[in-house]
């Protein structure tokens, strides 16, 4: 049963937890503690804190993120194709290539949009 392999993964992750977590606890226990208003501020190269850290920022690269979602899905489908490539007839392979080429147009659009900084 294939699940045995995955239980090994879970055990391995658990071992990783067992190795790492005591380290963190040890550091927590052994390290010095104490409060200090200056030291406890966020690091801003020695300057006092200015404004909120979690503010709005530019989203110029948003198109790349959308393209990532699209191509993530595409590449998962392409891996099924790659697995069966040598047993598929020529026409079926062409089909996947068509599937791929359909996605080139949105990619070009995303690159174009991301290049225009005034849009974001």
């Amino acid at each position: 049963m294939a699940f045995d392999v995955w239980s090994l993964v879970v055990i391995f992750e658990f071992l990783a937890f067992l190795v790492t977590f005591p380290l963190l606890v040890f550091g927590w226990l052994m390290g010095a503690k104490g409060r200090n208003a200056i030291r406890d501020g966020p690091f801003e190269s020695g300057q006092p804190r200015m404004g909120e850290a979690r503010q709005r920022y530019m989203m110029q690269y948003y198109p790349y993120l959308i393209m990532f979602v699209a191509f993530d899905i595409i590449s998962m489908f392409l891996f099924t194709w790659g697995l069966a490539f040598s047993v598929l007839p020529f026409t079926d392979n062409l089909l996947f290539i068509v599937f791929l080429i359909v996605l080139v147009a949105p990619l070009g659009y995303a690159l174009h949009l991301s290049g225009r900084r005034e849009l974001w």
């Binding site: 979690r54 709005r56 948003y62 959308i66 595409i74 998962m76 079926d92 659009y109 995303a110």
Partner: protein, 173 residues
């Protein structure tokens, strides 16, 4: 006697789904959603669908959750407060009641009506080659339509998200 692995996975799925909806900060809700989706991937593994589980993790947790987190970070007021006002009053309780009723009804229906609450047939693994072959032979048209769908939604999302020049001139809305 239920399978303990199944029970643990179900608990992960359900508890983190509730956490996703009830977490105080939206971004921790996204983490809850991620754990719930990983739990569903575990359920797929239990069903023997390895490729599907990897697909689920890579697409949902790797892409969709990242996109959700990014949007949560963008959708904030300048004061840094999260832009949401939750009101878990009467409506929340009513919602919980309705949802519980629906879930209970469906669960009961499935438990009682489904004719075979049978064991999973012992069978050879679905070969990975078959996946591509079936996809290419039987579902060719659906695949091309899916490609068009992905392309169209990507273009649509981009067109929606960009700031139109006239929108800026129109002033505060």
């Amino acid at each position: 006697m239920p399978d303990p692995i199944f029970l643990v996975l179900s608990a992960v799925v359900v508890v983190s789904a509730i956490a996703a909806l009830e977490a105080r900060e939206l971004i921790y809700g996204a983490v809850g959603l991620a754990f719930s989706l990983i739990g569903v991937a575990g359920i797929f593994l239990l069903l023997g669908e390895e490729y599907l589980a990897m697909f689920q993790i890579a697409v949902y947790v790797g892409a969709v959750v990242v996109l959700i987190m990014f949007t949560i970070m963008l959708v904030r007021r300048d004061s840094g407060r999260p832009a949401e006002e939750e009101e878990p009053g009467r409506l929340g309780r009513a919602g919980a009641f309705v949802a519980g009723l629906i879930a209970l009804a469906i669960a009961a229906a499935m438990y009682l009506v489904i004719p075979y609450s049978a064991e999973m047939p012992i069978l050879s693994e679905i070969s990975l080659h078959d996946l591509g072959r079936t996809l290419a032979s039987g579902y060719a048209l659906a695949l091309v339509i899916l490609g068009l769908l992905i392309g169209a939604t990507a273009v649509g999302a981009l067109t929606l998200a960009k700031i139109e020049p006239e929108e800026e001139r129109g002033g505060a809305a």
